[in-house]
């Protein structure tokens, strides 16, 4: 298992070619979809945007529809999107039993052989026949997805136990129709994403994002994290994660080396008695003084940190810039676990990774 800040290094390698990627592993509810859809609201044509929203919503609904509550223990559902030109791949994984597997296999086998017109006709036929499955699905969602995706739906069933299978599904949506025929005929293989799933499980990772960091792009993620704090018994820990995520993500925005794209990585891992949050991004300048600052605040006790926070915040009011300069102090004093920082120089510039463990109460 890769631990702490080294995770960011691993993720940078895995998602080198991804313009945007996001994976979420856990238990989903319906409200998750709406929040997630706004993630797709990035720089693509309007027409594609609409299709992306639809497909994300449907494949997500599919987890809920075919996901088996009796089989589900914790964290075995996964939902992910990856933008690797010229495709946007939507990946989902959930547990099904033998009966569900047979239903899905039969439907997908038929659907994947049909062209656009045939899919339309098949959709109408299924609709008329109204042969709804027990869970309210007639496979209509699957047909809709196939109609919009322009590529066959990639499917894989992995046997976990006797009557338990991981149902992995990937939809490859073309977002750049002007790409070369060779690129367009070679979407990412579903195996790449099932191995991502393994990587997330092996490293206890529950959330990861790579992409632009702006108020607009981080908002859906923060809404997801905020939404997951609704449960009263979990709200204290949820608030902690949410607060740390806000400060860490905004730290990326503030110190990014590129004024326009502000690209970075954010990940959440389960830790022994809580969770671990980390970010990585290229920063403007060489980060001189940062390691010293972190070393200093890591050696301070709560009282000293509170005093330093107040002193810095008060001093910042007189300064015209936006930054209060207390984000890291606040993280350190909120959780009283040491902040981890690492600066690496490479050909592009200085890459900063920051991580902190959040103990649960």
């Amino acid at each position: 298992m890769v631990k702490g800040l080294n995770l960011i290094g691993l993720l940078r390698k895995c998602f080198f070619e991804d313009k945007i990627c996001m994976f979420y592993r856990g238990n989903f509810d319906d409200t998750f979809t709406d929040k997630l859809i706004s993630l797709a609201d990035y720089d693509v044509e309007k027409k594609a945007k609409k299709r992306i929203s639809f497909l994300m919503s449907e494949s997500f609904q599919n987890i809920i529809r075919h996901g088996n509550d009796e089989l589900s223990t914790q964290n075995n559902n996964l939902f992910g999107i990856r933008a690797v030109a010229p495709f946007l791949d939507i990946f989902s994984s959930n547990l099904v039993n033998n009966k569900d597997k047979a239903f899905l296999e039969e439907k997908l086998d038929v659907i994947n052989k049909l062209d656009k017109d045939q899919l339309k006709a098949y959709y109408n036929k299924v609709l008329e026949e109204g042969s709804l499955s027990k869970k309210g699905g007639a496979g209509l969602g699957l047909i809709e997805m196939a109609k919009k995706s322009q590529k066959p739906i990639q499917v894989e069933f992995r046997k976990l136990e006797n009557d338990v299978f991981a149902f992995n599904m990937q939809i490859d949506l073309i977002v750049d129709e002007h790409a070369s025929a060779e690129l367009l005929s070679n979407p990412m293989s579903i195996e790449e994403n099932t191995s991502m799933y393994d990587l997330m499980v092996d490293n206890n990772m529950i959330f990861l994002y790579k992409g632009d960091f702006t108020d607009e792009t981080i908002s859906p993620m923060l809404n997801i994290l905020e939404g997951n704090t609704g449960d009263k018994s979990k709200s204290k820990n949820g608030y902690k994660i949410y607060h740390a995520a806000v400060e860490l993500m905004q730290n990326v925005i503030r110190h990014s080396s590129n004024a326009e794209t502000k690209e970075g990585i954010f990940a959440i891992n389960e830790a022994k008695n809580g969770c671990y949050l980390c970010t990585g991004n290229y920063i403007a300048g060489q980060g001189k003084g940062l390691e010293e600052h972190v070393k200093k605040i890591n050696s301070m006790n709560k009282e000293e940190l509170d005093a330093l926070y107040r002193q810095q915040l008060k001093a910042s009011v007189k300064l015209p810039n936006n930054n209060a300069g207390v984000g890291l102090i606040d993280l350190r004093r909120s959780f009283m676990t040491p902040l981890e920082v690492k600066l690496v120089e490479d050909k592009i510039g200085t890459y900063l990774t920051i991580g902190i463990e959040i103990p649960f109460s």
Partner: protein
């Protein structure tokens, strides 16, 4: 001078500014650049302190605020502390969130204004 309402957004709170000296900030505040969001409020208060300047009551009912917003909230309260003829802060916090109570108590330490705390 007129009353002013800044409507809440996905990232910012609702801000009600009344010439009777009542200010209310409610909702969450988590924008990266809070100085931009709170500029109108600071401008309004600057004019108010010059033109009207009666005692000000600030009701703060925030469910969350980030460090960038903390600076703007402190800036508001410091302006009132220094410029107005008296005032107070009513700090309303969710009953299940001690952190937000502590955040209010912390602001109080940095100011002369009296604080009242109410859980909701």
């Amino acid at each position: 001078m007129d009353n002013k309402i800044i409507k809440a957004t996905e990232l910012g709170p609702e801000i009600i500014l009344e010439t009777t000296g009542n200010i209310k900030i409610s909702g969450k505040s988590r924008m990266e650049d809070a100085s931009l969001y709170y500029k109108e409020m600071h401008d309004w208060l600057g004019n108010y302190l010059q033109d009207v300047n009666t005692s000000i009551t600030v009701v703060m009912e925030l469910s969350y605020f980030n460090s960038s917003s903390a600076k703007q909230l402190l800036k508001l309260l410091m302006s009132i502390d220094e410029g107005s003829s008296g005032g107070k802060v009513i700090w309303i916090y969710p009953a299940d969130n001690d952190t937000l109570l502590e955040r209010g108590q912390e602001l109080k330490i940095m100011l002369d204004l009296p604080f009242e705390y109410q859980s909701k």
